[in-house]
């Protein structure tokens, strides 16, 4: 360490120049880092003080992780406000998605809501219409649960064939977070639901004023009116300050920026449950209110973004999830579905939650057709794309949860393919 650098470091700190300090962040002295047979060098960062506890009041990932970001597909939508981006599944471990990496789907952009001015109204077929402030809602008994949340269009670009050269785009419309809030049933009891009410309409405060109809049975079962995500208040793009969490059901019903719940006798038949989020079948009829996200899984290592770099030991890793409950088993095939081995599941395995699976393996350098197949506690087995197509054709857009295939090539690169 030369004194000149230390001197500069001191000056920039004195000036309170955090940005200047970051610019001076030392780089590794020897690029080979001891892999060339020469003695190890002591890198700069061991020989100088780093920033202190006031440098980052709200921490951010290492500057070297700047490529771990959500990405969008520009050709998919004409507007960035009515659009989607994708979780970088290839870069994630475990089951919790960092809040800033959770895929975003909006229909009218992200509103900037002042929490003190935000209100939730419950009305319609209730004994007493009520309005709640955020501090009212936080006073209620709270509950925390970890659940996956998936857009029903996840994988929807691949009904007709493999199209996306990356797991971020083939499967990245899913995330998994710990959500804290008040049970919707608690709030509904507070307002007193009329016996004839069977559905409720959830409405957002965004520019889309997003609405979806939800059956009362589900609302009273396990739905949460959530204000926190992964321990802190929900991120703006995930619905700050208030959203619905409807465990295991398609993302669109988990209305963000929630401002109103209205009880009624029948579904409202709004745009997002007729024109969109309905599944067109080959006979021209569309299935409606197909809420649950059926069991799904994908291998995240290796994948097109994470090719194999060396022969020998390789842990195959992936995620599985089911909107009907817990994952009970995941099988992995190395030969395109002819033979299967059961993978290890990371515990705890939770209800309607991402489940991490892994299988130790060896790669000898030849082509391999990798697949994973999830089975949930109801006994439901993730189907092949051909089985799905036989029943639903290729135009349903939503709810494509078929077994996915990665082909590992001779050189370790990985391609998205579909096999018979």
């Amino acid at each position: 360490m030369n004194t000149g650098r230390r001197g500069f470091f001191g000056r920039s700190l004195a000036a309170g120049g955090i940005a200047a300090l970051a610019a001076q962040h030392p780089k590794i002295a020897a690029a080979s880092g001891g892999l060339d047979g020469k003695p190890l060098e002591v890198p700069d960062w061991t020989k100088m003080l780093g920033p202190g506890v006031t440098a980052a009041p709200y921490g951010a990932p290492s500057e070297f992780e700047k490529d771990v970001v959500r990405r969008n597909v520009p050709w998919l939508t004409v507007s960035e406000q009515a659009s989607i981006n994708f979780t970088p599944l290839q870069d994630l471990d475990g089951i919790i998605t960092p809040s800033g990496l959770c895929f975003e789907r909006h229909h009218g952009g992200v509103p900037a809501i002042e929490p003190d001015l935000h209100r939730l109204v419950i009305h319609g077929m209730v004994r007493q219409p009520l309005i709640f402030t955020m501090s009212d809602l936080v006073r209620f008994p709270s509950v925390s649960r970890i659940h996956f949340l998936e857009c029903p269009a996840n994988g929807g670009m691949e009904w007709k064939g493999a199209q996306m050269a990356g797991v971020q785009f083939s499967h990245g419309m899913v995330h998994c977070c710990e959500w804290t809030g008040v049970r919707l049933s608690t709030l509904l009891e507070e307002a007193g639901v009329a016996p004839a009410a069977k559905w409720l309409l959830a409405e957002g405060a965004d520019a889309a004023a997003m609405t979806r109809s939800i059956p009362l049975d589900k609302a009273l079962d396990d739905v949460i009116v959530a204000y926190s995500q992964n321990g802190e208040r929900i991120r703006p793009e995930q619905g700050y300050p208030l959203r619905l969490i409807v465990p295991g059901w398609e993302g669109n019903v988990q209305v963000k920026w929630l401002r109103r719940l209205k009880l009624g006798e029948r579904p409202w038949q709004h745009r997002e449950e007729t024109s969109k989020y309905t599944d067109l079948m080959p006979d021209g009829k569309a299935r409606q209110f197909t809420f649950v996200q059926e069991a799904n899984s994908v291998i995240t290592a290796p994948c097109p973004e994470k090719p194999l770099k060396a022969k020998g030991f390789c842990e195959i890793r992936g995620i599985a999830w089911s909107g009907r409950g817990k994952i009970s088993r995941v099988d992995v095939s190395l030969d395109g579905g002819a033979n299967w081995q059961t993978a290890e599941l990371q515990t705890p395995v939770l209800d309607k939650c991402l489940t991490r699976f892994r299988l130790p393996s060896r790669w000898q350098g030849g082509p391999v057709f990798l697949q994973s197949r999830a089975i949930d506690e109801t006994g439901y087995v993730q189907p092949t794309i051909e089985q799905l197509r036989q029943v639903r054709g290729v135009n349903s857009v939503y709810h494509k949860n078929s077994i996915h295939t990665w082909r590992v090539n001779q050189d370790g690169s990985v391609d998205n393919v579909q096999v018979l």
């Binding site: 990405r71 597909v73 004409v78 507007s79 109204v121 009305h123 007493q128 219409p129 009520l130 309005i131 709640f132 009212d136 006073r139 209620f140 008994p141 064939g161 493999a162 199209q163 996306m164 050269a165 990356g166 785009f169 608690t186 507070e190 016996p195 309409l201 409405e203 520019a207 889309a208 004023a209 609405t211 579904p267 409202w268 038949q269 709004h270 007729t274 024109s275 309905t278 067109l280 021209g284 569309a286 299935r287 809420f291 649950v292 097109p304 088993r329 579905g337 002819a338 033979n339 299967w340 087995v381 092949t384 089985q387 036989q390 029943v391 391609d415 998205n416 393919v417 579909q418 096999v419």
Partner: protein
């Protein structure tokens, strides 16, 4: 709370002051939140029942007035005749395409209920100025959208009643109730397939439609 328990709460209330306060606590659960009247909620209470038109406001609008408004406030995105400018959504056409290779799901070909159009347009269109149309303007522009889809004559005037009674071509095109699981796969473990792997689709890399891994600066 059921009618029964509310009734018994009332009995309790009659029995004495302490009992009355218990009943009140029961009736209002945690007693958190504030009462609000329908009149106060009205500015937010904008949902329309798609099937029965419940909530449709008084007022009316003509196809002619709607055309003027549409040209000024909608056509830049949705095209002069609803055909969709570039990649912006199309609002007409597509009849007979739902069973084909390239289904076009529009108001005319797909939407099952006419009042839903009023609900959607009033709550969120025009895209860059949502909730800026008043009720008469909304009736008018919805009338024009229906006219573009040959569902209203050029001299029509639309109101709550005519919108509710208008039968959309695809009204019977939806199946409510989830038939899934509709695929019953078996978890075969050994020799489930024979012969070399048959690749059906292998264009993902060569299509070149996947964004690069570098973040947007």
């Amino acid at each position: 709370m059921s009618t029964m328990s509310r009734f018994s709460s009332l009995l309790l209330a009659a029995a004495g002051l302490l009992a009355a306060s218990v009943a009140a606590a029961q009736q209002r659960g945690y007693g958190i939140g504030h009462k609000i009247t329908d009149a106060q909620i009205a500015p937010w209470n904008i949902d329309i029942g798609g099937e029965d038109g419940k909530g449709l406001p008084p007022g009316k609008g003509s196809v002619a007035a709607g055309e003027k408004l549409y040209v000024q406030q909608c056509a830049s995105c949705h095209g002069e005749f609803g055909e969709g400018n570039g990649r912006w959504p199309e609002l007409m056409g597509g009849q007979g395409s739902l069973r084909g290779e390239d289904p076009r799901k529009t108001i005319g070909s797909f939407w099952p209920w006419a009042p839903t159009i009023f609900d959607y347009v009033r709550r969120t269109m025009p895209f860059t100025a949502p909730q800026s149309l008043d009720n008469d303007e909304t009736y008018a522009v919805v009338a024009y959208l229906l006219h573009l889809n040959d569902l209203l004559p050029a001299d029509a005037v639309l109101d709550a009643k005519s919108l509710t009674t208008l039968k959309m071509p695809n009204r019977d095109g939806f199946i409510a109730g989830d038939p899934r699981p509709d695929v019953k796969a078996q978890p075969c473990m050994k020799d489930c397939k024979t012969g070399p792997v048959k690749v059906l689709s292998d264009l993902a890399k060569s299509l070149g439609v996947t964004p690069t891994q570098k973040p947007k600066d």
